[in-house]
């Protein structure tokens, strides 16, 4: 509250200096701690920054970044489709579909992603050929480090995406579905054309966080030899023994990608918020 001229002299509120002094002391201590840490790791540590810089921008790393982005993009897109299907199954009235979807989520959320990735990579061990009615496929030809990585990430993140989408769908008032049905839509049409576009504003922020997590989680697939950012740096480290330098290269690239993704997410959310500003939600213009 600011003092006004009408206020009596004895009612002036004086600032206390105590809290400001404490704040300043805390800040100084924090700066000292950070400075010491930086000195230990960068100053006296023996990281070859020239090596870091050289490999940062090497073709091998560019390929790795491309693979990371591809793994993230494809499994994200796939998880949106599979997650929507699973979410629709979960909120349906069909007990069998519900059970299948919830078992899927139970399994893929309940086991470590690393285990799932290694499992898919070794699928050929117990399933040498995949027999389909019209053809049979040699599993070892199908399962490469890249396809196994994609399979593992996509199936796993779908379980989480399903929960995010389901949360969005059930946040939309039931009256919307009833109104959609009453004008003659089928339940599927009502879900896709009326409920889903409205659920997006609830889904988007959480799905964005999931996508950013996924970007970093792709590093796990280096264990099966996929040459994404982590895989590329690890194979360089194995040949050159620049172990720490390569971890720094990987970290810097993840930081760059995550920063860009975070900015994109903020931008997207701002646009969504702006379109809701006047009230109307103008996502997915339908007519």
């Amino acid at each position: 509250m600011s003092q006004t001229e009408t206020r009596a002299e004895d009612l002036l509120i004086h600032r206390r200096s105590g809290p400001r002094i404490v704040n300043a002391i805390i800040a100084v201590i924090a700066i000292i701690v950070v400075a010491v840490a930086v000195q230990v790791f960068i100053g006296t540590g023996r990281i070859r920054w020239d090596i870091v810089w050289t490999y940062m921008w090497s073709p091998a790393l560019f390929n790795g970044v491309g693979t990371t982005l591809m793994l993230t993009g494809v499994s994200l897109a796939g998880s949106i489709v599979l997650g929507t299907i699973l979410a629709a199954m979960l909120i349906s009235n069909n007990a069998v579909l519900k059970l299948i979807a919830s078992s899927y989520i139970w399994f893929f959320r309940g086991t470590p992603l690393l285990v799932q990735i290694v499992f898919w990579f070794n699928l050929g061990l117990f399933l040498p050929t995949i027999e389909l009615p019209w053809t049979s496929i040699n599993t070892n030809l199908l399962i490469t480090p890249t396809t196994a990585a994609l399979l593992g990430l996509l199936l796993n993140v779908s379980a989480f995406m399903c929960e995010v989408i389901r949360g969005g769908l059930i946040s939309v008032d039931k009256g919307q579905t009833e109104a959609a049905l009453s004008i003659g839509m089928t339940p599927v049409q009502a879900l896709l054309q009326i409920v889903l576009p409205q659920a997006v504003r609830v889904i988007l922020p959480t799905a964005g966080n999931l996508a950013i997590d996924l970007l970093k989680t792709t590093s796990l697939v280096y264990v099966i030899g996929t040459r994404e950012i982590m895989g590329s740096t690890q194979s360089i480290a194995a040949q050159t023994f620049y172990v720490i330098e390569m971890l720094v290269v990987a970290s810097l690239w993840y930081l760059i990608l995550v920063t860009v993704a975070t900015l994109l997410q903020a931008q997207l959310e701002k646009r969504l918020a702006r379109s809701q500003g006047a009230g109307p939600v103008q996502i997915g213009k339908v007519i």
Binding site: D173, G175, Q176, E178, A179, A180, L181, S182, I183, G184, M185, T186, P187, Q189, Q193, I194, P197, Q198, A278, G279, P280, V281, Q282, I283, G284, K285, V286, I287
Partner: protein, 264 residues
């Protein structure tokens, strides 16, 4: 679902014919044998205390709820069923959807689509379900908005409209596909008192035009003024029905008398 005998189709001529309708939620029986008949062009009113099953009855008519026993006919079909040879089998989702487009429904809370303008709401069924060409649908949509007095608000989103305006848009949406009957579930109950009149006058217009309507409401004097028939529902059964003159002016059932005294 049981097979009605051919005699069942000799119901009094009507758009909606309901006989001995029973509906339970789990163990809880909500409709305990409802008889109700709405002729073409009739404005039939349903009154009754909260929780007596009025909404459930309306929702059964356009399959938003299923029923367990009795008969519920709309025009020439048994709701929830379709012909297979000479038997009735459970209706497919597509059949139910097609039938619903021939029944308008107006909800207590409007349920307009918030991401569409007033015009887009009105023509949503025409465009997304009937696949009417957009230009033609827009033309019809503008006519409908003019009819409910909102032509100049065509581009407004629901959040920019008052409750009364939203409900008028919802009515325009409900009549867009020329339904055989319109169901109103307490269309003015969510409105501020000063906005009730504008919605009632739109409904009055529709009644004058000969629209077949089944209306749940607590606006007793409106029912008395424009209704052709009034059904008083009490604890899941029709306790009394007849002309507004009979049911509202000279109620004979003690429950009706008590109810009317309470809400007036």
């Amino acid at each position: 679902m049981h097979n009605p005998s051919p005699a069942d189709r000799s119901f009094p001529d009507g758009i909606v014919r309901i006989r001995n309708l029973r509906k339970s939620f789990n163990e809880h029986e909500v409709l305990k044998g409802i008889d109700l008949n709405v002729r073409k062009g009739e404005a039939a009113f349903i009154i009754g205390a909260s929780g007596s099953g009025k909404s459930t009855l309306l929702r059964c008519v356009n399959s938003l709820e299923t029923y367990q026993a009795g008969e519920l006919w709309v025009e020439d079909y048994l709701v929830g069923a379709e012909r297979s040879g000479n038997r009735w089998v459970e209706a497919r989702a597509s059949t139910t959807a097609r039938r619903r487009s021939q029944i308008g429904m107006v909800f207590q809370r409007f349920n307009l689509f918030p991401n569409m303008t007033a015009l887009e709401n009105v023509i949503s069924g025409l465009v997304m379900v009937q696949k009417m060409p957009k230009a033609q649908a827009r033309e019809r949509g503008m006519d409908l908005l003019a009819k409910v007095g909102l032509a100049e608000r065509a581009g407004s989103y629901p959040s920019q409209l008052s409750g009364g305006q939203q409900q008028r848009v919802a009515i325009a949406r409900a009549i867009a596909a020329n339904p055989a009957v319109i169901l109103f579930d307490e269309p003015t109950s969510a409105l501020d008192p000063e906005l009730v009149g504008e919605v009632l006058s739109v409904m009055r217009e529709l009644i004058k035009e000969g629209m077949t309507m089944l209306i749940v409401t607590h606006e007793i004097s409106f029912a008395e003024e424009v209704g052709d028939s009034v059904y008083f529902i009490d604890k899941g059964v029709v306790a009394e029905h007849g002309s507004p003159q009979q049911v509202i002016r000279q109620p004979s059932h003690p429950r009706t008398i008590e109810f009317l005294a309470r809400i007036r």
